[in-house]
Symmetry: C2
Subunit: 357 residues, 2 copies
DNA sequence: TTGAAAGCGGTACCAA
DNA sequence: TTGGTACCGCTTTCAA
């Protein structure tokens, strides 16, 4: 108790008038302050503020009142230190200016709250630049990590070594079992191609994502595979960066490299699909969907705007966020659980940007 | 040192083979582990890892190697407890599915990194529901708060009482001096009206934001004031919720309540302007800008899409974010600094959605 | 039911 | 330059 001596010497000359500022002298109230004011021990204060602890009604009430009088707020930092639980979850995310990730973040945040976890946000300018960031993540003793960015194997191992569970959001690591929640890219792509083919389309073009996007490549592969199954080969593929501009540029390139312009542009996400539609209408004078059918992927907000009414695969972002947090928190509670991948089906949205059969 | 005894008894039988897992037995490495391995004191470890501390090159190197061998990462939680600096900044934000706030968040995050601060994200479903959230903010001993949501006076006082600096982003409290960074709503609105009037427009309609938005009301007042100065009275005003749907609904309502349809729709933000344009074109068959000029506010990403090419006031979000963090960190370092409001000018973007003079 | 005391993992002061 | 030690504010045994 010696270490508390300095504090115990605070005299309360005017008990009737004592106010928080007088007692504390500008400090924030601690459980010791509350204890002194309530005339109980500090450990009693801690106990009284816990849900199912043993404390008499009388003491509970005294502590409650003293805490209120001092404006006491428990120090989560100190609590975390002793409990080894920060109630912090790191969310690694990038492209907050895209349309997709803000929705993801919003849902992740909502579900984190359900599990009484706070979000420590690491919004990366690009999907790289992680190494320095990762160090900060580890320093903050987060309970878990949600990775909506690419992670190298060594980066993942650095986290695993600290026994911090990781769940990937809409991505995963090839050849390595990891926790992940994904939207079913393969099925989504196959459904879109099937419906487009049934509508009579035969000349396809693909505006794909960058090569280092695992799910993007999966979607591309599934698209081409289904086309082959339907007897359509040599489908031209161009690359984009998931943004509006590269959707527009992609269409121009598709037309440039093909012998004939395509009747369908399969885009890797909605934002590129929107760029593609605008390029078709405003640069090339191609009516959508009359002259060109365009499909996207994601189902972001603007996809429903009257100017676009995108035909797309809507990702069940809410469910995905929920699954992500469940998966993660299960592993926070029980680190022994094996890696698990949850693949949720997307839903086709039959907008007006493509003729479907 | 008695409290460290348990740890000191860890025997190192095979010094040549000792690996992190053997020494630690699954624990995360602490500075004590590093100290023991390096054969120095714990305080020396702490010192060696600080920037400008006094330590011999030899010791530095030994500590560095021991730390690397054990995969040691300093515990930011423990550090925060003693330094009373969490290096955490709470960002209170809502409407992450809007187009504007994700950009804001992205920039805030970038600039927080510059100041070596992490973002503790509180993404609120609605701008209310803060009370419960606020308690969590206070528990985490954040260095400062950035409020991009409405805060009541009592909520602000609860934060001030803990001596945590707050900066409002694009909002403030009436009749109370607070730190705030805002885009110049008044000037922006006046510029738009002036240019529209110069182009010959005389029949205006306003699709405003909700009444409880301080900056929204400021913008509305400035718009109506400038119109009056130009001799235009009885401008119809309808309300919206800053979203796409209420932009569309707003236009319908403007037409319903007015004797003649307006020639200009002044919208409180870009998203409503976009909804308004789509409603004009697809519901009402009104060509934009031939039959109806539409202006927005914000300068969000989609405002530049070919389908809209919005005439709007672009907010200098990067500069605003930078100013926000500067203002905040200045007050973290020096709590005595008086409240300050920084108002940055927006820039008019002459898109194709309105005829300007 | 209550209180004393031992940490959690760092930082920083002070003496050597 | 180095090590010893006293905290930061809480949770959690363990006795009383």
């Amino acid at each position: 108790m010696a270490r508390r001596k300095a504090r115990a010497t605070v005299t309360l000359r005017k008990p009737a008038e004592r106010v928080a500022s007088e007692i504390l002298g500008g400090r924030r109230a601690t459980s010791y302050d509350v204890a002194r004011l309530a005339g109980v021990s500090q450990s009693a204060v801690s106990r009284c503020l816990q849900p199912g602890a043993s404390a008499s009604v009388k003491m509970r009430e005294r502590v409650r009142r003293a805490a209120a009088e001092l404006g006491y707020t428990p120090n989560a930092i100190a609590r975390s230190l002793i409990t080894r639980r920060s109630n912090l979850i790191a969310v690694l995310i990038s492209n907050l200016t895209s349309l997709y990730y803000p929705e993801v973040l919003s849902e992740l945040s909502a579900h984190a709250t359900v599990h009484d976890e706070r979000i420590l946000l690491f919004a990366l300018p690009h999907e790289s630049d992680i190494d320095e960031t990762l160090d900060k993540v580890l320093q903050y003793q987060v309970d878990g990590v949600i990775a909506a960015v690419r992670l190298s194997l060594s980066q993942l191992e650095a986290i695993n070594r600290r026994r911090i569970p990781v769940v990937f959001f809409n991505r995963y690591l090839r050849d390595h079992p990891v926790n992940a929640v994904c939207c079913d890219q393969v099925d989504g792509a196959r459904v879109l191609v099937t419906r487009l083919h049934a509508a009579g389309h035969r000349r396809f073009g693909v505006i794909a994502g960058p090569k280092d996007s695992v799910v993007g490549e999966e979607r591309l592969r599934a698209t081409l595979e289904k086309l082959q199954e339907l007897g359509i080969r040599d489908t031209p593929v161009v690359r984009g960066g998931y943004d509006y501009e590269s959707g527009a540029a992609g269409l121009h390139e598709l037309i440039r490299i093909g012998k004939k312009p395509p009747h369908v542009a399969v885009c890797a996400n909605d934002l590129m699909a929107i760029g593609c539609i605008d390029a078709a209408r405003f640069d090339l004078g191609l009516a959508v969907p009359e002259k060109l059918s365009v499909v996207g992927f994601d189902g972001v907000g603007p996809s429903t705007w009257s100017s676009y009414r995108l035909t797309t695969i809507r990702q069940p972002i809410q469910r995905m966020a929920e699954a992500t947090l469940t998966l993660l928190m299960d592993r926070v509670e029980n680190p022994k659980l094996p890696p698990e991948k949850r693949v949720l089906a997307g839903q086709i949205v039959e907008g007006g940007s493509a003729k479907l059969g």
